[in-house]
């Protein structure tokens, strides 16, 4: 039959395409091998040699083992990262669920709000939280003024403060990771469950929640791993006990110059991160990070999971019935939107706070400002240092976004077209820059760049930022391409388009939304990046976060706030343009 013949040739062609497709990942592989794997390996390798004699030695690891302080800090790091992931999911899940049910246009606008923390420098956010949570901060002033409490609440310089700062920084990432998975869930399944007799609670937990679990797990992993490397938030918002491993690594690298020991600590952190990834891969499968379908677990675990969900559903059903009894059906229907708006308020609050601070007449970041004026904007606009840093940050972020989107896009294309056993490994390798703490990459790169003359160059910054941005672009593009109908490419090929024409004429226009998202992800990654900038800029090629950091260390003044406001306006305009671009492409 002709059908069989056609499918035979199709299969052959597909195999040829597969072989060819994997080559698209080669540039990215080489790039990461040279600018990521090699420098990091070198830094970690330092831990295995005695710096004086140059002989192999495990003295650094013996030192770690000799005291429990490093293991305890590792434990604290894991605990904080774990709680951050947990709370980010608890806040992010309902928010993402609410967003996924909004009409497209409205959702796009709401997403801009959710993304606000992303494009507010985390240095500024951290200080905003100090102003909100401090002993004489906004919350305590309100609480004491209204007589709710007679002692200031301990909100800052403890684990609570750290949680607020970290969860605030991570909720957008959690939402952005879960949203595509939720958007991909067929809503009719929930309807189907209800027509089959499931109460709304049962339908949600047994069907929708179960199907959204891969997204939840992926978001949890990304948040957890990203949280491992935090050092600014615990330093400024934490107390005595909230010391994270990245802080110790930075001290070893920057202050004590003990790079072998820093390498050993980094190796410990990396090993711990890899173990978490491995566990994740065992349980959920690493491909779920890009929205792949989860593995179906083995019989008993799966049955147990379903049984637990059934119990949760029963409980939730009871709770919602109780709630409906208390506040009525209408009131219950408002719970989700009200929660979501509160979550958005939480995300936007620090940025909103920065605006009045920028117009303060005070020398300090104090709230409320004693008076208003434009002097800090004048300081900003009249400082060539700030202006140069701003322009450089935009240019570097732009170049990074293009490079990372191209590499991420081609790699996603290669992986989407290939079903070899290597693709899982390649995917994991491309995600690795997200797993390795940035400070390790930064120091490794600095060492490499110094030898090839890339220190204090814009190119060096772009390369470093591209390394960090590639995982985000790959994950975004892989999720988009998963839903992309490959047959359209085949159709274009049969209609006479060559590979390039197919790519530019068919594939790219159809995945434009994903490209814009990947571009923005990479742009923001670069725009808010500090670690690489500290090491690679050499103080000469200063980026905006680096300039802010210098300011923050030395003379905390409201210029920071003024800069943030300017950046906020520029980036908002850019996002609006991008949003228009994206919506015009979909219509």
């Amino acid at each position: 039959m002709s059908m069989a013949a056609t499918s035979g040739t199709m299969r052959e062609r597909a195999r040829g395409f597969r072989f060819g497709a994997l080559w698209l990942a080669v540039p990215g592989l080489l790039f990461l091998a040279v600018f990521f794997a090699w420098p990091v390996a070198q830094l970690l390798g330092l831990s295995l040699f005695d710096p004086d004699s140059g002989k192999a030695s495990i003295a650094t690891y013996e030192r770690i083992a000799a005291t429990d302080v490093y293991l305890r800090v590792l434990g604290i790091t894991f605990r904080i990262a774990g709680y951050t992931a947990l709370y980010s999911l608890l806040i992010g899940y309902p928010l993402a669920y609410w967003l996924s049910r909004l009409p497209d246009l409205y959702r796009g606008r709401m997403l801009l709000f959710v993304m606000v923390p992303f494009w507010t420098s985390y240095l500024v956010k951290t200080f905003a939280w100090m102003i909100v949570l401090g002993r004489s901060g906004i919350i305590n002033s309100l609480a004491m003024g209204s007589g709710i409490v007679d002692q200031p609440l301990p909100l800052l310089h403890n684990e609570f403060g750290v949680m607020v700062g970290m969860v605030h920084a991570m909720v957008p990432l959690a939402v952005m990771t879960m949203l595509p998975v939720m958007a991909g869930i067929d809503r009719r399944l929930v309807q189907a469950a209800q027509t089959l007799g499931a109460s709304p609670a049962h339908a949600f937990w047994l069907i929708y929640f179960k199907l959204s679990l891969p997204g939840v797990a992926a978001a949890g992993l990304l948040v957890f791993i990203s949280s491992l490397g935090f050092f600014i938030v615990p330093a400024f918002l934490g107390g005595r006990r909230e010391t994270m491993l990245a802080q110790l690594i930075i001290t070893q690298v920057q202050e004590l110059l003990n790079w072998p020991f820093a390498g050993a600590l980094a190796a410990m952190m990396l090993a711990a991160a890899l173990v978490s990834c491995w566990v994740y891969d065992r349980v959920f499968g690493l491909s779920t990070v890009a929205g792949g379908s989860a593995q179906v677990g083995a019989g008993r675990i799966r049955d147990l999971g379903l049984a637990i969900l059934a119990q949760v559903a029963k409980l939730a059903g009871g709770v919602s019935a109780l709630m409906q009894g208390l506040i009525g059906r209408r009131g219950s229907a408002l719970v989700l939107p009200v929660f979501s708006w509160l979550a958005i308020a939480f995300l936007v609050l620090p940025t909103l706070l920065v605006i009045p601070l920028a117009f303060t007449s005070s020398q300090f970041l104090e709230f409320p400002p004693p008076g208003y004026g434009l002097s800090w904007f004048r300081t900003y606009f009249e400082s060539p240092l700030w202006i140069q840093a701003t322009i450089r940050s935009f240019l570097v972020a732009f170049a990074t976004a293009i490079a990372a989107t191209a590499i991420g896009g081609f790699t996603a294309l290669a992986l989407a077209n290939s079903r070899t056993r290597w693709s899982g490994l390649i995917f994991a390798f491309f995600l690795a820059p997200m797993i390795v703490p940035r400070i390790i990459i930064a120091v490794g790169l600095f060492y490499l760049f110094a030898r090839i003359g890339l220190v204090a160059t814009d190119l060096g910054l772009v390369i470093g930022h591209t390394v960090l941005a590639i995982p985000f672009t790959l994950v975004t593009m892989a999720a988009v391409l998963k839903g992309y109908d490959q047959r359209l490419d085949q159709a274009a090929a049969t209609l006479g388009a060559n590979r390039l024409r197919t790519l530019t004429g068919v594939t790219v226009p159809l995945v434009k939304g994903g490209l814009v998202a990947a571009f923005l992800f990479a742009f923001i990654t670069s725009f808010d990046e500090l670690s690489i900038a500290i090491f690679v800029s050499g103080g000469v090629k200063t980026t905006l976060p680096k300039q802010m950091w210098d300011d923050m260390i030395l003379q905390l003044n409201p210029t920071l706030a003024a800069v943030s406001v300017v950046v906020f306006i520029v980036v908002t305009l850019m996002l609006l343009v991008a949003e228009r671009f994206r919506s015009s492409s979909s219509s």
Binding site: R135, S136, A235, L257, Q363, F364, R451, I534, G539, M552
Partner: protein, 355 residues
């Protein structure tokens, strides 16, 4: 590196290919000039140091020698960059400010070049401020300050600071054993001139007692300003200029100079730097007392050349660590002891914090 960077000489190009020249080549482009004079890149701590040093050192030096000074902000702890710079011979800076501890770490790893003059050349320089590899420009002091609006019973010593019954109030300490160990020992009655070698065990016993009463453990200088200014705490130790900044901004607070520990910040040259000659000339220039007096107009740090006080107004001298009145109440921190013991004490301190 060639001294003129306007012509793309063969050597410069070769070095560019070798990768060593990019930073220095980029610098004149940044500064927007193309004079055929030597240009050195100076890494200062940034922030208020930029304009202060520009006024005191950079502009006068340019005027005097015709060379050009481009200043960039270095990291709070530039040692890592410094090390990699020398090891890879990619000299982004020609001179860099270093603390005494950074000096000792770098000197210990052989990463510094000699400055080319001695104490005999500048006799009025504080003797601690000069060594073959280093010249100090400014003195900063670790003291404590308290909010006069909240602390009614004025504390006057570290013993008072550590006495939470007699002097109630929220306290902060630095999340670092350096200074903190000394403060504990001073509070316990160890005389200022017999601090070193530090009795670490004794210090931790004192710290054990105050640990529950410490509300904030600060990590950065700007943070200490913020803590004092916002009233997050009522008393805290810190570097005098940081605390002074809050007071200058109108915060009702007072600095206690008694039993302060001072230290020095100054210039060091990366080993093998291509413009070492001009850099040395520059460092020497910075020992000038009139030049040093100028930076105190902006920075509340003390000049190392005590002759500078001849031109500093008396009112300003009061808030500077090296003014005779303040200096006699203080002692210098022993960087050598810390260089030898820091890793171990830090480890113990970190462990102690967690329990």
């Amino acid at each position: 590196m060639t001294t003129t960077t306007t012509r793309p000489t063969r050597r410069a190009l070769l070095q560019l290919a070798g990768g060593a020249a990019a930073g220095a080549l980029a610098a004149p482009y940044l500064a927007g000039t193309a004079r055929a004079a030597t240009q050195i890149i100076v890494a200062d701590p940034g922030g208020p140091f930029g304009p202060a040093f520009r006024k005191a050192f950079y502009d006068p030096f340019e005027k005097a020698t015709g060379n050009k000074v481009v200043n960039v902000a270095r990291e709070a702890e530039p040692t890592a960059q410094f090390k990699a710079m020398v090891e890879t011979k990619s000299y982004t800076w020609d001179v860099c400010t270093l603390t005494l501890s950074a000096r000792d770490i770098l000197a210990g790893q052989g990463l510094l070049d000699p400055i080319g003059f001695t104490h005999a050349d500048v006799p009025k320089l504080m003797p601690e401020a000069i060594s073959p590899l280093y010249m100090g420009t400014d003195v900063y002091s670790t003291v404590f300050a308290y909010r006069t609006d909240r602390v009614k019973n004025a504390p006057a010593s570290w013993a008072d600071f550590f006495n939470v019954e007699k002097f109630p109030g929220r306290r902060a300490l630095r999340k670092n054993p350096i200074d903190t160990i000394e403060q504990a020992l001073l509070a316990d009655g160890v005389p200022l001139d017999k601090l070193y070698p530090l009795d670490v065990d004794r210090a931790f016993k004192v710290l054990d007692k105050i640990k529950p009463h410490v509300a904030v453990w600060w990590t950065g200088g700007a943070q200490s300003t913020q803590l004092l200014q916002s009233g997050e705490v009522d008393m805290l130790p810190g570097w005098n200029a940081r605390l002074q900044a809050a007071i200058d901004g109108g915060t009702p607070a007072r600095i206690v100079w008694n039993q302060g520990l001072y230290s020095i910040e100054g210039w060091g040259l990366p080993k093998g730097g291509p413009k070492a000659d001009v850099a040395r000339q520059f460092v020497r220039f910075c020992s000038d007392p009139k030049a040093q007096a100028l930076f105190t107009e902006i920075l509340a740090y003390g000049p190392t050349n005590l002759d500078a006080y001849q031109t500093i107004p008396a009112e300003r001298a009061k808030v500077l660590p090296t003014s005779p009145e303040n200096l006699k109440q203080m002692a210098i921190a022993d960087e050598a002891w810390w260089s030898a013991n820091r890793a171990k004490v830090s480890e113990r301190f970190n462990a102690w914090l967690l329990t």
